[in-house]
């Protein structure tokens, strides 16, 4: 951008002001935020490696434990388990990623600097969300590949279908992460509630959307059901019912919107209380 876009009205700088010369724009913002997120992730190599290891370790426990206890019956459902687990790692990554990012920035004293940008806080938070979703996809893809390798299972991985369905699905989780991130900025300590929500994702991902129609409108539920069909049965994006797609898009927009609105309200409240940067 060459000049900041207006946020209402057209104020004019006085002649005495040294006019700001902008050399970058939204592309540079997005690139910088994504790059920073990846850099910080790899600068904690043990943590990054442990995250991947634990992801596959818990799946291994479920897989071998389930096979031991339920035998063939369990093996018949392994595809569903893999898809559900893949989505759970994605949702968890997006949810905790944005929540922890916001709270960490507040505790480090860098959140306020992100507030004071000519782009506005919204685009910066959006860029952060993109960065977190991107990184989460990378890690979850590795976990998915390892799951398929360990179990010897094959799944349909039509990117044109899988990618938009998963992205739209985890936008709901991102919205919840924004809610918790905003509450964290305001109330500082919310880890008890935040951790419980992580387990609620399991219930949402396995919600019986075909038996209880209203569960389709919960975060993750509709997308989870569609992802199962896409990855197990090879259903393509354009083969889904328009209603299903509409609910998927609608719930994604709704929960992300709610998340962003709550985040906006909590940060405004934090500014009123003077605790935006305090931790």
């Amino acid at each position: 951008m060459t000049t900041a876009e207006g946020d209402g009205g057209e104020p004019t700088g006085p002649p005495t002001a040294r006019e700001p010369v902008r050399t970058g724009g939204y592309y540079h913002l997005l690139k910088a935020v994504v790059y920073r997120d990846l850099l910080i992730w790899v600068r904690y190599p043990l943590n990054a490696a442990l995250g991947l290891f634990m992801g596959i370790f818990f799946f291994g426990l479920m897989f071998y434990g389930g096979t031991l206890v339920a035998g063939q019956a369990f093996s018949d459902t392994i595809e569903g388990l893999i898809v559900g687990y893949f989505l759970w790692t994605l949702a968890l990554g997006a949810y905790s990623g944005i929540m922890n990012d916001i709270q960490s920035e507040a505790s480090w004293g860098t959140l306020e600097r992100h507030f004071m940008t000519p782009f506005g806080f919204g685009p910066v938070v959006f860029a952060k969300s993109v960065a977190i979703v991107f990184r989460t996809f990378l890690t979850s893809a590795v976990i998915l590949a390892l799951m398929l390798l360990v179990t010897g299972t094959t799944l349909e991985l039509n990117l044109v279908t899988v990618l938009p369905v998963t992205v739209l699905t985890i936008l709901g989780a991102l919205g919840l992460g924004l809610v918790m991130g905003g509450l964290g900025v305001l109330y500082k300590r919310i880890s008890n509630v935040a951790n419980i929500l992580q387990f609620a994702f399991i219930g949402l991902i396995s919600a019986p959307v075909f038996d209880l129609w209203w569960t389709r409108f919960l975060p993750l539920a509709q997308g989870s059901a569609m992802l199962q069909r896409a990855m197990r049965d090879g259903v393509r994006l354009w083969e889904f019912e328009p209603t299903a797609l509409a609910i998927l898009v609608g719930t994604a927009v709704l929960y992300l919107g709610i998340g962003y609105a709550v985040f906006g309200l909590t940060t405004r409240r934090a500014r009123r209380l003077g605790v935006l940067g305090d931790y």
């Binding site: 946020d7 700088g13 904690y44 990623g97």
Partner: protein
């Protein structure tokens, strides 16, 4: 908290409101009128800023009716004891705290009405070394903070090299910030604020944690920044030398109000005639008693036939004193002027303050402490 000072100094920063300008009220409270500069002439314009935290009996009036203006290119020091309202004032100007009343403008742009336009011009170093990413290298920090301020880091690469050179960080450009000393971290914070090529910067305790040499160099660089780049600086610091060396003007706050807004030179000049330290011979008890009756003598010490005392006097009173001494046939062995520094001026203005000279309560919070208090991050733990 300091007692309310008995008088305030009207400086160059603002003129009193009409209601304060009646003839009987020549010393209307400073910082509570209309700033002398027009909103669109000033780089920073603050009028009637007030902020209260809490309600009822527990309400804390952090900032009360604060007004001042800073001209483009001017360097202003913001002083005050702990709890004086400096940080709340700065954060209110920047829109990080929502004030209850008042307006804040940067280059004529209302920060609260049009924050994005205002942030084109301004950035701030609010948390000292807690202002950037410790896991990133120095250069990566500069590039990142330039990018989030709407700059292409590649285009500003030369400018960043210049900043690294200026702050003596070139050799550490590719070192992770966490591996640097506290003083160097502080310099990285400052450099990252300037990396976005802003024209107005708020610096909260920029020299905190720096050794004497680094502090001196930083002061020189701050002065150079202001002179060569015309950058407008507001520096909140407990380091009086920084304020004296770097700032054109000083705004002193106490109990949420501006009690002094004056040029550093004028402020010190106002105290220059504070007194004299005089050594004389032949002062007996009767003469001493006479001098005590006629002048404000303090710190009287007698050693042999020499008597040393301090006297609070302006130039005229000083000459009356020397006349009196001559009349008593005293031998004047020595005269020194008692030169107050800004620290003394500050203490006097704030009624003594709390002795902490304005060190923000949170400034000494170790970043490590903040890290420990960070919530567990399931996706990456501590990212700093």
């Amino acid at each position: 908290m300091a007692d309310e000072p008995s008088e305030t100094r009207t400086g160059t920063g603002q003129v009193p409101d009409d209601e304060d300008t009646d003839a009987d009220d020549a010393t209307a409270p400073v910082g509570q009128g209309t700033p002398a500069l027009a909103p669109d002439e000033a780089a920073i314009y603050v009028e009637g800023l007030s902020k209260t935290f809490g309600k009822g009996d527990e309400a804390v009036h952090a900032v009360e009716d604060v007004s001042f203006a800073v001209a483009p290119g001017e360097v202003v020091g913001l002083l005050g004891p702990n709890g004086a309202g400096k940080t709340t004032t700065i954060k209110s100007i920047l829109g990080l705290v929502l004030p209850d009343e008042g307006e804040a403008r940067v280059h004529g742009i209302d920060v609260h009405e049009h924050p994005r336009q205002a942030y084109e011009y301004v950035d701030a170093m609010l948390e000292g070394a807690r202002n950037d990413y410790w896991r990133l290298t120095v250069r990566e920090n500069l590039r990142y903070f330039a990018a989030i301020r709407g700059q292409d880091p590649d285009t500003l690469a030369d400018r960043h090299d210049e900043l690294l050179e200026q702050f003596d960080l070139s050799h550490a450009a590719d070192t992770a910030v966490r591996d640097l000393s506290r003083g160097m971290k502080q310099k990285v914070s400052l450099a990252s604020v300037l990396a976005g090529d802003v024209s107005v910067a708020f610096l909260d305790e920029p020299t905190l944690g720096l050794d004497v040499e680094s502090s001196l160099k930083l002061r020189t660089e701050l002065t150079r920044l202001a002179e060569e780049r015309g950058i407008t600086l507001v520096i909140s610091s407990h380091d009086m030398e920084v304020i004296e060396d770097v700032c054109d003007r000083v705004v002193i706050m106490n109990e949420g109000r501006v009690i002094v807004d004056d040029s550093v030179a004028d402020l010190l000049a106002g105290f220059e005639t504070k007194g004299y330290r005089i050594t004389a011979r032949g002062v007996d008890d009767a003469v001493l008693e006479d001098l005590r009756d006629r002048f404000d003598l303090t710190d009287v010490e007698r050693t042999g036939d020499r008597t040393r005392f301090e006297v609070a006097a302006d130039t005229a009173a000083f000459y009356r004193l020397t006349d009196a001494m001559e009349a008593h046939d005293l031998e004047l062995a020595g005269v020194e002027t008692v030169q107050p520094d800004l620290a003394e001026a500050f203490v006097e203005m704030t009624g003594g303050g709390d002795g902490t000279m304005g060190v923000p309560a949170d400034s000494e919070t170790a970043p490590e402490e903040a890290q420990v208090s960070a919530p567990p991050a399931s996706d990456g733990g501590e990212h700093r």
